[in-house]
Point group: C2
């Protein structure tokens, strides 16, 4: 059994695949074009061709968990947000259910209520909220990860999951990847929503 990574070629996805390969956790990277294979070949991660806006039914075969970390942040056009972040996520949830996937991990956002988020980000936050709600209503065992503002700082291996105790709104992509991998390795159920911010607590103690 292996874990399907949707959005594997993204900034969190690549880090997650690297860490998974290093620690011997089997993952399958869904990629959109063959040029992306070079990176995954170099780190020894299996790839499968699939398109969030097209054909991807076959990519779930033989997987027991799915990580959805595809998406645009707030940076791309809203057509992309709707077709990838929202419709791609809804299709992935449908297909996960059809394929009997055991657990679905969604990389979402810290902002639960779009109307309370930064004004510029609100339409994007609406798409993320709707995708989260679709997963929550799916009946799948799931985890919704709520990272803060993403940074490229090197991973510290330490986080804070209580927003009211956090001293920053940031979290590194390295730490997000480590948190996902820790949850993937955990066999028992995890909390259904987890805030991820920089902090003082070792990730494997908090989430392992």
């Amino acid at each position: 059994m292996t874990t399907l990574i949707i959005g594997a070629n993204g900034q969190i996805g690549r880090r997650l695949c690297e860490q998974a390969a290093q620690s011997g956790h089997a993952v399958r990277a869904m990629v959109r074009d063959e040029q992306q294979n070079t990176f995954f070949d170099s780190i020894g991660v299996e790839t499968v061709m699939g398109d969030l806006t097209g054909d991807m039914d076959h990519v779930f075969e033989g997987c027991d968990q799915v990580v959805f970390t595809a998406g645009s942040g707030g940076a791309t056009g809203l057509d992309h947000t709707l077709m990838v972040d929202l419709n791609g996520a809804m299709r992935a949830v449908d297909l996960a259910r059809e394929h009997g996937i055991r657990r679905f991990l969604m990389v979402s956002t810290l902002h639960v209520d779009p109307l309370k988020g930064p004004e510029k980000l609100r339409p994007y936050l609406v798409a993320k909220r709707a995708a989260d709600a679709y997963l929550q209503a799916s009946g799948l065992e799931h985890v919704i990860l709520r990272p803060g503002r993403l940074s490229d700082d090197p991973g510290t291996g330490h986080i804070e999951t209580d927003q009211s105790r956090a001293s920053t709104g940031d979290v590194s992509r390295d730490n997000v990847a480590t948190a996902i991998l820790t949850l993937l390795k955990r066999q028992t159920s995890a909390p259904e929503e987890i805030v991820l911010l920089e902090g003082d607590h070792p990730i494997d103690q908090v989430l392992g």
Copy 2:
């Protein structure tokens, strides 16, 4: 008890309010600014100020049914689609549940699968699909109306609800309004999804 109309000042909403006033069915029109009151005053329909992207908690008081016919079609910007068609709908569903609303009628679209709809419309269709899914998962008694391409032709009072038997992909806004009003008056549960196209069957026989 009265029916709240969200999107009352739109092209279907105005027709619905006119027909409701004529037939003595009590409706409350949610409007965004006071200038819109003139029309509703002229036809004798109660209004309430509310904003789909802001304050609207109070508008549900004393209502037993809600019609959601707000939205942009595919014509406005996708920020509007996300904030009104999708987030507005999700908030209306949440508030309807909190206020113990008996039934929620959603005006949606004929295209259930966004990827099979016209390419230009797809991002809009994704927003509508997500809003429908949110309502379906809400536990509220509901009806999702799936009208075809909307026209301004005068209402015939006749429709077709079986897409495979329809001779056209169109339906008049008049007929959509009549269908909604017919469902509002019906006390028993209705089918949860209803296609609305021009046809040969009297609306009150099909839906009454």
